[in-house]
């Protein structure tokens, strides 16, 4: 075929199929299925993370797709924050040809989707589900992306011990893996390092009233000098409003799920509350540059570090496809599992040698005067991290 003729045909192709086919005349397509919550209780977490992922996939597609070769077609379906519905839409996405699956910010929903992707061998990444039991509950295709609960809890416990805290009250809820286990991980590390768990309380998620639990805390003979909980919105605002309303001034620490605009907007009420994040945007850092780019992309600043975490998922997939050299599911899975010191936006991410929950830094933050202030960023000692 004469060269000129070929060029003409390519131009025609581009004209017919639009810009997308222009830069990727030879590219193949890879379908990524995103079974994520657009409505319901998980939506405030899934949506920011998904926005970050979309941004990175858009950028990668502009450069030819994953590994420069595979243009990503992202199919998104709403799970309505329902575990059973997550399985339904995951199946629909598999049927639509998804080669990679993205699941919600929650262990229970992610596990239900993983039950379907595991037999199919489809690499599956949770947006920000952080329960360390999540990956082993499914199998070798399931990857966490956010710092795991036990890692976060260890970071907060290390910090509490360094502050001289001695007695902690743990507030848990059996309604989700996150709210049930994270404070217990904290308790294990805290006790190992010389602290004591002086009391435990529970709540139901969505519970209207914390007054009974708070009165119990007030009535304790051995008063705690710290309350640790993994409650998040809308339970966390309710708890702290009623706690402070009852005149209890004991500090309250939590984890990543309270690093949100809603909690920040509580202002003075949450002064002193310590929480975690996947990173902190120091001046001149890559994360600061990301935040600026995201603001331009989405029209609003990132609400939390879930956006950058979603963005990093795109980078991880790109690297994995590059290493795999193909769109073969097994090869991509192996490539993710073998990642070591991968340079993300927030720092280095390692999967090699883990149970597919990444080793990565945890940023400790503290609310002061309605702002999240950076305390420090650390990678907890692996020997301190309690087993899942």
């Amino acid at each position: 075929m004469p060269r000129l003729y070929r060029l003409q045909r390519a131009a025609l192709c581009a004209a017919v199929f639009g810009i997308a086919s222009f830069s990727t005349a030879n590219a193949e397509e890879i379908i990524i299925g995103a079974a994520t919550a657009q409505t319901g209780g998980l939506a405030p977490y899934d949506q920011p993370a998904l926005a970050g992922l979309r941004m990175s996939l858009d950028e990668l597609n502009a450069k030819g797709g994953l590994g420069g070769k595979y243009v990503v077609k992202l199919l998104i379906k709403d799970t309505r924050s329902d575990t059973a519905q997550t399985a339904t839409v995951a199946q629909e996405l598999i049927d639509a040809g998804a080669k990679i699956m993205i699941t919600p910010c929650d262990a229970d929903a992610s596990i239900s989707a993983g039950q379907l992707t595991q037999p199919a061998g489809i690499p599956t990444l949770t947006l920000c589900g952080s329960a360390p039991v999540l990956t082993d509950a499914v199998g070798d295709v399931m990857f966490g992306t956010y710092p795991a609960d036990n890692v976060q809890a260890t970071a907060v416990a290390d910090f509490a011990v360094s502050e001289g805290k001695k007695k902690v009250f743990l507030l848990t809820s059996p309604d989700s893996t996150y709210t049930a286990n994270l404070p217990e991980y904290f308790g294990k590390v805290f006790e190992k390092k010389g602290g004591a768990v002086v009391g435990r309380g529970t709540f139901s998620m969505g519970q209207p009233d914390f007054s009974a639990e708070i009165t119990n805390i007030k009535g304790m003979a051995d008063q705690p000098d710290l309350i640790m909980t993994a409650a998040y919105e809308p339970d966390f605002p309710a708890f702290i409003q009623q706690l402070r309303g009852a005149g209890v001034t004991v500090p309250v620490y939590g984890a990543d799920a309270i690093g949100t605009p809603t909690i920040k907007a509580l202002g003075k009420l949450v002064d002193g509350v310590v929480y975690t994040a996947a990173g902190y945007a120091e001046p001149g850092s890559k994360l600061e540059a990301f935040n600026a780019a995201f603001t331009k992309y989405a029209g609003h600043a990132p609400e939390s570090t879930y956006e950058v975490n979603g963005y990093e998922i795109g980078l991880i997939l790109d690297q994995a496809v590059k290493t795999a050299g193909s769109d073969d599911a097994k090869a991509i899975r192996d490539a993710i599992a073998g990642l070591k010191d991968f340079q993300g936006v927030t720092g280095k991410i390692t999967y090699a040698g883990t149970n597919r929950m990444p080793l990565r830094a945890v940023a400790l933050m503290r609310y002061e005067g309605g702002e999240g202030k950076h305390v420090k960023t650390l990678i907890p000692d692996a020997a301190d991290v309690p087993a899942p």
Partner: protein
């Protein structure tokens, strides 16, 4: 500490009573359990937030929010329930579920799926000492507002012509209409009152929770429904009794159960409800004209 828990229980029971009463007023007259009652609360919550964002002083914002709840209830009746008048209980029930789902999605997509923080004035998170125990300002306001609302409602139903007509309508609607009282007015008033109660309950609820979110109406309407059933469906004193009973049981169980059993609290409460209904199938204080669906 026990006295403190009693105050907690009365405060929570008061909110449940207001909500259950809102459900019962409508049920006693049109035979509808309005499951969209919770969304009236959500709406009032967002109205409060909006009023505060627009810089209205707090008392005025509360007034705006409660009126919004009341007006929304009337609008809901006009748009969704009036065309269904005379339909079967099941159709009415499904309509109310539809309205509820629709509003939830509107809130989620129109406002935000994320809860919005509502900054309560500082004095509301305070507490004052009373002898050797402290009472939070929040629970105290809860108790006072619930009590006032119940007394005012009772006065309205006993002393005003519309109130009397409503009590009569709850017993025999057809006869009331034969007396020349327009049905639409009675029904609209019932919804107005239920919206007012939902608005008030929303204020107390938001004051305790410091945030509003699209799904916040679900739990309270469920609790209110349980309270109304325990009290005797369609009976106003029953709804109040059921609300207080539910609040007291919940708080006392939470306070006394050891941490290992505490997660089963709701199961224990609901078993208690079944036990009450086995002993008194019509509820604690049955309605004069018992309706069952």
């Amino acid at each position: 500490m026990f006295a403190q828990q009693i105050i907690n229980a009365i405060s929570l029971g008061g909110v449940y009573a207001l909500l259950a009463l809102g459900l019962a007023i409508v049920f006693s007259i049109v035979g509808l359990i309005n499951f969209a009652h919770g969304e009236l609360m959500t709406l009032s919550g967002y109205a409060l937030l909006a009023a505060l964002v627009f810089g209205l002083p707090f008392p005025l914002a509360v007034l705006v929010a409660v009126s919004c709840g009341a007006l929304a209830a009337v609008a809901m009746e006009r748009i969704a329930f009036r065309p269904m008048r005379g339909a079967s209980v099941t159709s009415l029930l499904l309509t109310s579920f539809a309205v509820s789902s629709l509003l939830k999605v509107v809130f989620q997509n129109g406002i935000s799926a994320r809860p919005q923080a509502v900054a309560m004035p500082g004095w509301m998170t305070g507490a004052f000492s009373f002898g050797d125990f402290t009472i939070g300002v929040g629970p105290s306001i809860s108790i006072v507002v619930s009590a006032l609302a119940l007394i005012l409602l009772e006065t309205f139903l006993r002393r005003s012509v519309t109130g009397t007509a409503m009590r009569a309508a709850a017993e025999d609607f057809d006869v009331v209409r034969l007396m020349g009282i327009p049905a639409s007015r009675i029904i609209a008033t019932a919804f107005l009152l239920s919206g007012l109660l939902a608005g008030l309950a929303a204020m107390l609820w938001v004051a305790q929770r410091a945030s509003v979110d699209p799904l916040m109406g679900f739990t309270p309407v469920l609790k209110a429904f349980i309270a109304a059933v325990v009290g005797g469906l369609g009976s106003l004193p029953g709804a109040v009794a059921g609300g207080f009973l539910l609040g007291i049981i919940e708080v006392l169980l939470q306070a006394t159960l050891p941490a290992a059993i505490a997660p089963y609290r709701d199961a224990i409460v609901l078993s208690g409800v079944i036990a009450v209904l086995l002993l008194r199938p019509q509820g604690l204080i049955p309605a004069v004209r018992v309706q069952r669906s």
